[in-house]
């Protein structure tokens, strides 16, 4: 159990403790909703003084900074957990760390100064290993990026097809390729209201991937979120 070091005054504003964590390996295939349940159970095991909503279905409050698609790893995820009383961040961190596997590492815990709305950019490291990749693949990608606009077909939740220009959402991109391996470091829009999914970015560069199982097994696309930045490119915390 993580001790409460100070009770909250009645009507005090909601108190959130922020955790920074990584989500790698097997965890990359776990959806947003399942990750939420996983973190909740871990927080219960850790004995955090969780706040629960009142009523028939008491529920805790856990909020993520930015969505992460299935198949994307991350070294910089942020989770805000609402607490019922103030806990020592170091104690909370230690308790949380022992309740997850190495693929879900809790790196830091602190009371946040910055709201999630100030998260502007997310950086990714992308490695695409495929027998079809040559030095020319990198040129083709650069050519796409040098266009003034990069229109991408997008399907809305209602199923309507729209065309979106993703060029303004690409902050920077470095591309290199050798025989069989394409490497990209990029900075993409990361604010929930203006978000670019790195897979859509890759689709714009390389086109639709095959759905043939055997070809897919011979390739490897790994995408890892490495850093979160504010608008002025200083680290988000």
């Amino acid at each position: 159990m993580v001790q409460v070091i100070r009770q909250l005054e009645p009507n005090a504003p909601a108190l959130f403790l922020r955790f920074r964590f990584s989500k790698t390996g097997a965890l990359q295939f776990i959806s947003h909703l399942d990750l939420l349940r996983t973190l909740h159970k871990g927080a219960v095991r850790a004995g955090l003084p969780l706040w629960y909503s009142k009523g028939f279905h008491p529920a805790p409050k856990l909020i993520f900074a930015a969505p992460l698609s299935i198949g994307v790893e991350s070294l910089c995820e942020f989770l805000d957990v609402r607490l019922d009383g103030e806990a020592d961040p170091a104690a909370a961190l230690a308790a949380m760390q022992s309740n997850f596997t190495e693929e879900l590492q809790i790196e830091d815990a602190y009371y946040p100064q910055t709201p999630f709305t100030q998260l502007a950019w997310l950086c990714y490291r992308i490695v695409y290993a495929s027998p079809g990749v040559t030095a020319e693949t990198a040129d083709r990608c650069r050519a796409v990026l040098s266009q003034p606009t990069i229109p991408v077909q997008k399907r809305s939740k209602e199923g309507r097809e729209t065309v979106v220009d993703i060029r303004p959402k690409i902050g920077a991109a470095e591309i290199s390729a050798g025989e069989g391996t394409l490497r990209i470091s990029c900075r993409l829009a990361g604010n929930p209201s203006d978000f670019l999914n790195p897979e859509i970015f890759m689709k714009a560069l390389l086109g639709e991937r095959t759905s043939d199982a055997r070809t897919l097994m011979s390739e490897r696309l790994s995408i890892c979120r490495t850093e979160a930045l504010r608008q002025d490119l200083t680290p988000f915390r």
Binding site: A26, F29, S31, D34, T38, F56, H57, G71, L216, M217
Partner: protein, 616 residues
């Protein structure tokens, strides 16, 4: 290589990749170099079903407590994943190590229901292990079966090397010890091992018995091939449930599973003796755990899992003799920790207001009762000792406590059933709705929904109705149609089970070894997941039965003679055949039998021993 790495390329193309990645918190990882017995525990259904299974949770824990054994989990991949794996030539692997099934010493399947047979054999096929026991070589793993279907495993006897009969906590450890010692002293061969296993007690090795048939197709004899092989296999039980091992930790699934919660097994067995119920017979004698032990286990599991839902399970939870004491103990800490308690398997006659208050303190939900039959006459015949007044009293309590929905389970096609019994189902539902409307508006919730879920009777081995036939398919369908015509109340929703599924289940339930060619052909022709609506193909099965010369009616729709040798007579569950016959005859006289709590009815299960308060 980790499980997810070996599949990485295709994981994003399949539905719910979280099923296949492993790596869960609390999974058991061991150093292979110190392991003498590698045990693959296979659940022949999807991950989210298998992860919820209490038997797997218990035996995974029991086996992994042994230093020299490493037990891993294996689930059936869904069709999309199976297709990808076949295309890429990827073999079925275990969750913890990612090693192929072929690399294991013992591959054990828990057989929870008959319709998992094709899925189980499909897993062997995907693993590249020969299907038939006789086709396997010294290098192949030993294929073991267990769980409820092992009580009549004859239809799949050709595919399994041996079956564990009864409770596995002690038996599986003994089997692993035997394997380890025979490997160590060099005496291990498949046949020597299986022969030795048949002496352990509780293990059935089908290849050590010869079954012969009479011209009319019934069994002439089932004889051991060697004098040292036991003529009957007595099921194993764990004598003292308070001392039985129970997991302290749970492997925590990342994706949502069907019963995503802490499950507390309160007792084994059942005092009731409903005449259609296999579980009520094969899990005897009744053995309870004490509230102190249960409370300690619940708290430990909660702290190690973080689950906010605690389910108390057993065949009939309200028959637990110390239920009040247990719930009171649990409620001292569960409310503060936002943990809700649920009690499935409630009986209407022991459902009280006080109990209702306890379970509704934290979370709301519907209530489910199982009257099973529509008239008192038929309820007496099946020995479901539930009176209509009890049901009405129970739903009155529920509605007054603000419940809006009540679900009622019934069976159709029960032995001795008449049209008025079916009409009784509709009447009973209407009366439940009436109870709601008789409650003053201010004291009830707005709106009421009664759901009648009606399944088809399937005669099961080791029940008093094991000799009785299932209604022919046409009659089952006609009865469903008749009942649908009677369900006119708009507050009553009528659900019925697919009669064709029930028929196939009846064939397997009372089947014998001659079904093997059909099951094999089904697996070869790609049949899997028969329990899933989207996969079940009755016509395909009928074509297979025709091609293999099998008459499904011989198994499903024939009344077995009382002096006939039954395919499962080789198994001894403690409860005697004489008792089952007595019960059958009473059924036809509409006579009830009191519960074990009232008097001992001499079923015979007490010969197995066990620490309990009911049988002496």
């Amino acid at each position: 290589m980790k499980q997810w790495e070996s599949l990485a390329g295709i994981l994003k193309t399949v539905e719910k990749p979280g099923r296949y990645v492993g790596g869960e918190f609390n999974q058991v990882i061991k150093d292979k170099s110190n392991i003498q017995v590698r045990f693959a525990f296979c659940f022949p259904d999807l991950y989210e079903i298998g992860m919820s299974n209490l038997g797997v949770r218990i035996l995974y824990d029991v086996l992994n407590r042994k230093e020299s054994v490493w037990c891993e989990r294996v689930y059936a991949p869904w069709l999309d994943m199976q297709k990808c794996m076949e295309e890429c030539g990827l073999p079925l692997t275990a969750h913890e190590s990612g090693d192929p099934l072929r690399a294991f010493d013992i591959v054990g399947f828990t057989l929870q229901y008959e319709l998992c047979y094709t899925t189980a054999l499909g897993m062997l096929k995907l693993a590249g292990i020969p299907l038939a026991s006789a086709e396997r070589s010294e290098e192949d793993p030993i294929i073991l079966g267990g769980g409820p279907c092992a009580y009549n495993a004859e239809p799949i006897a050709d595919f399994f090397d041996l079956f564990s009969i009864g409770e596995g906590e002690e038996a599986l450890c003994e089997l692993c010890d035997l394997y380890e010692s025979m490997k160590r002293d060099g005496s291990y061969t498949r046949s020597a091992f299986l022969r030795a296993a048949s002496h352990l007690g509780g293990f059935y090795v089908p290849s050590l018995y010869e079954v012969t048939y009479k011209p009319d197709g019934t069994i002439l004899a089932c004889t051991p091939r060697y004098p040292d092989v036991p003529a009957k296999i007595r099921k194993r039980i764990v004598a003292d449930m308070d001392r039985a091992p129970y997991p302290e930790k749970l492997v925590m699934p990342y994706i949502e599973t069907v019963h995503d919660r802490v499950v507390l097994e309160v007792y084994r067995g059942c005092i009731r003796g409903c005449r259609f119920c296999q579980a009520g017979m094969v899990y005897r004698p009744i053995r309870e755990k004490s509230p102190e032990v249960l409370d300690r286990q619940a708290r430990c599991l909660f702290e190690n899992s973080g689950y906010d839902d605690l389910s108390l399970i057993s065949l009939s939870i309200s028959d637990y003799s110390r239920l009040d004491e247990l719930t009171d103990r649990l409620l001292t800490w569960t409310e503060d920790r936002h943990v809700s308690i649920s009690l499935p398997s409630l009986r209407v006659d022991s459902f009280t207001e006080a109990l209702m208050d306890k379970i509704s303190t934290v979370r709301a939900g519907g209530l489910t009762f199982a009257p099973e039959a529509g008239t008192q006459r038929l309820r007496d015949a099946i020995n479901k000792n539930v009176a209509e007044e009890d049901l009405m009293r129970a739903v009155d309590i529920a509605f007054r406590a603000g419940k809006q929905s009540v679900k009622l389970y019934f069976m159709q096609g029960l032995p001795t059933e008449q049209k008025e019994d079916l009409a009784g189902i509709a009447d009973l539902c209407r009366k439940v709705v009436d109870v709601y409307y008789r409650i003053p508006k201010a004291e009830r919730a707005r709106g009421v929904q009664v759901t009648a879920s009606v399944s088809c009777f399937i005669p099961k081995p080791f029940t008093p109705f094991q000799w009785d036939c299932q209604d022919p398919l046409d009659l089952l369908l006609e009865k469903q149609e008749y009942l649908r015509g009677l369900m006119t109340d708009r507050h009553v929703r009528y659900n019925w089970h697919d009669a064709k599924v029930s028929r196939l289940e009846a064939v397997f339930a009372r089947g014998d070894r001659r079904l093997a060619p059909a099951i094999r052909m089904a697996v070869e022709e790609g049949i899997r997941f028969d329990a899933w609506d989207e996969c079940f193909d009755y016509d395909h099965w009928m074509r297979i039965f025709k091609k293999t010369g099998i008459d499904p009616a011989f198994y499903a729709n024939r009344t077995f003679a009382e002096d006939e040798i039954l395919p499962w007579d080789i198994i001894d569950i403690g409860v005697t055949k004489a008792y089952l016959l007595r019960e059958r005859h009473k059924a036809y006289q509409n006579e009830t039998t009191p519960s074990c709590a009232e008097q001992c009815n001499g079923c015979g299960a007490n010969c197995l021993g066990g620490v309990n308060r009911w049988c002496k």
